[in-house]
């Protein structure tokens, strides 16, 4: 009889690690694959980029590889093309995002209406957004083509132009042409975001305002805009960052030319890496790009915090 309590007590010996610690370890184990992915493809490469930016590292001159401290950054400050690309980036980002926003908002208001075939139209109008950047660039290169492009043809038939225009190889027009292409591509992003916001606005608000005699414009100004404000801020900021970083479209369409007319900072980084094979300078450029983005994100977080507090 006396031995029974002993056998009963035996399972109560403390486990090697407590249940809570065990659970925590399992949690960390689940994170390992994702952490490894990030470590190998983001964290280590960024560290490497910072290191590379401190070296003279031109691929075809391996004998000149040596530490030069902030040399690449000093060169960058004195490089007039760098300052030009920063300005071009501002034009590119501001032009693209502003026009995408206005057109995307208009599109969202249209697609918010009830009409037959709405689901189909919604899907079709989003297509420019999901196709590869190369495809967008090539489609528009063909549309802009001076001799066989349909844009010149249509404009001349309509009597708006007397002679053919080389859209992408004229320094005055190239930026407008690539921005317009990017607008075509990016409208659906704002449409999706704003449409989701519009659908969340309760109908009763509009009905009440209508009873009070508010005009269409008044309802838009006093109900729609204030309620969509948080979404507008988030969508615009994300889009600004994305457009600033985005290099594919310009790289495909003009390669930054003619004479750097469409060279934005991110494509300039690519050109330095691919054409001059100057990885040190290219890395310094990309680190600056990253710093600009971090500064913008910090400012953006403060603004959105402000928005949340107001709401």
């Amino acid at each position: 009889m006396a031995t029974v309590p002993v056998t009963l007590a035996r399972p109560r010996t403390r486990p090697l690690i407590s249940w809570r610690v065990h659970k925590l370890l399992v949690g960390y184990a689940y994170l390992i694959p994702a952490a490894l992915c990030m470590l190998a493809t983001v964290v280590v490469p960024i560290g490497l980029a910072i290191k590379m930016s401190l070296y003279n590292n031109v691929l075809y001159k391996p004998q000149d590889y040596h530490f030069i401290g902030l040399g690449n950054y000093l060169r960058l400050v004195q490089d007039p093309v760098f300052w030009l690309t920063l300005w071009n980036s501002v034009v590119w980002v501001f032009g693209s995002v502003l026009l995408q926003f206005i057109a995307g908002f208009a599109a969202a208001l249209l697609l918010q209406q009830t009409f037959r075939g709405r689901a189909l139209v919604r899907t079709l109008t989003l297509l420019p957004w999901i196709i590869p950047g190369v495809v967008v660039g090539l489609i528009w290169e063909w549309l802009y083509q001076p001799n066989y492009g349909v844009i010149n043809d249509l404009l001349m038939r309509a009597g708006l132009m007397q002679e053919r225009v080389a859209w992408l190889s004229s320094p005055d027009l190239a930026m407008t042409a690539v921005v317009f292409t990017n607008v075509w591509r990016g409208i659906p992003f704002f449409t999706i975001m704003l449409l989701a916001g519009l659908q969340a606005v309760p109908d009763e608000l509009y009905e009440a305002a209508q009873v009070d005699g508010a005009s269409v414009l008044g309802r838009f100004w006093h109900i729609t805009l204030p309620l969509l404000r948080p979404i507008i801020v988030v969508a615009t900021a994300t889009r600004i960052i994305w457009t600033f970083n985005y290099a594919d479209l310009i790289f495909v369409m003009t390669g930054g030319g003619p004479a750097n007319a469409t060279q934005i900072t991110s494509t300039y980084t690519l050109v330095q890496a691919y054409s001059t094979l100057d990885f040190g300078y290219a890395s310094a450029l990309s680190v600056v790009l990253l710093l600009v983005m971090l500064a913008f994100t910090a400012g953006y977080l403060r603004i959105t915090k402000g928005v949340e507090e107001i709401d």
Binding site: V121, D153, V252, T269
Partner: protein, 286 residues
Amino acid sequence: MRRGGPSDLAERLLAGPVVWVGLVALTAFALGPFLWMLLTSLKDRQELYATPLQYLPVHPTLENYVDAWTSTVTPFNRFFLNSLWVCSVTMVATTFVSILAGYAIARFRFAGRDALLLIFLATQMFPSVLLIAPLLTQWRTLGLIDTYQALIYSNFSFTVPFTVWMMVGYFSSIPRELEESAMIDGCSQFGALCRVVLPLAAPGIAATAIFAFVVSWSELLFAISFTTQTDMRTLSAGLLYMVGQYEVQWGQLSAGVIMSTVPVALLFVLLQRHLIHGLTAGAVKG
């Protein structure tokens, strides 16, 4: 209440003609360029370079598609298979990795959880040009240039942060009690994840997976940087390669453009349905 005033007229105009004109303009603007590319791809060389411009192909032909697909200089069938393989593997691996990480972040309280989430968010804002030089150096050191691995691993840099972020959202919306009762019934934590959580999150996971596929399909800069052989080009890289090859063959190129667009367009239609499904499922539960 005012009736019959100028605002009433504005309203009737806005509800009727303005909406219709706007919708037609919007659809035409979005689809016009695709349509023009499709028409181009069906023209033979003579019609393609006719002056004055010939809008509709008089003798529509699929020659351009056949030429692009079987070309030996720019083997489109090879590009297509390369893209399909790279994107599929990226999709499967990304989904697996982000399910585990998303579940851990949504369910376990551990030190550095918020910091980790912030890192995943911030990574999405990094310029991809930042990664090209260091990744190229890294893959070269590891002897991975001209391999599928280099492209797949590189794709993780932009797919994983986003999909983890999405998964955290899906898993957080599933009530914890469901797993807890499964675990009381004798399921392990992993068993509960597989048998209870995953089926509930399936629509969201499908949407995330397709998203990873679509963004990998668009990837260009890694594909041109980490491959040197024509045989290793993906569709995006291959299309760019076609342009650089000789005098631009717009007929073949437009066929290539259409062929690269169709798969993602189809997937997108699928993605939309899943997304809506996921949203409504959440709404019904909530």
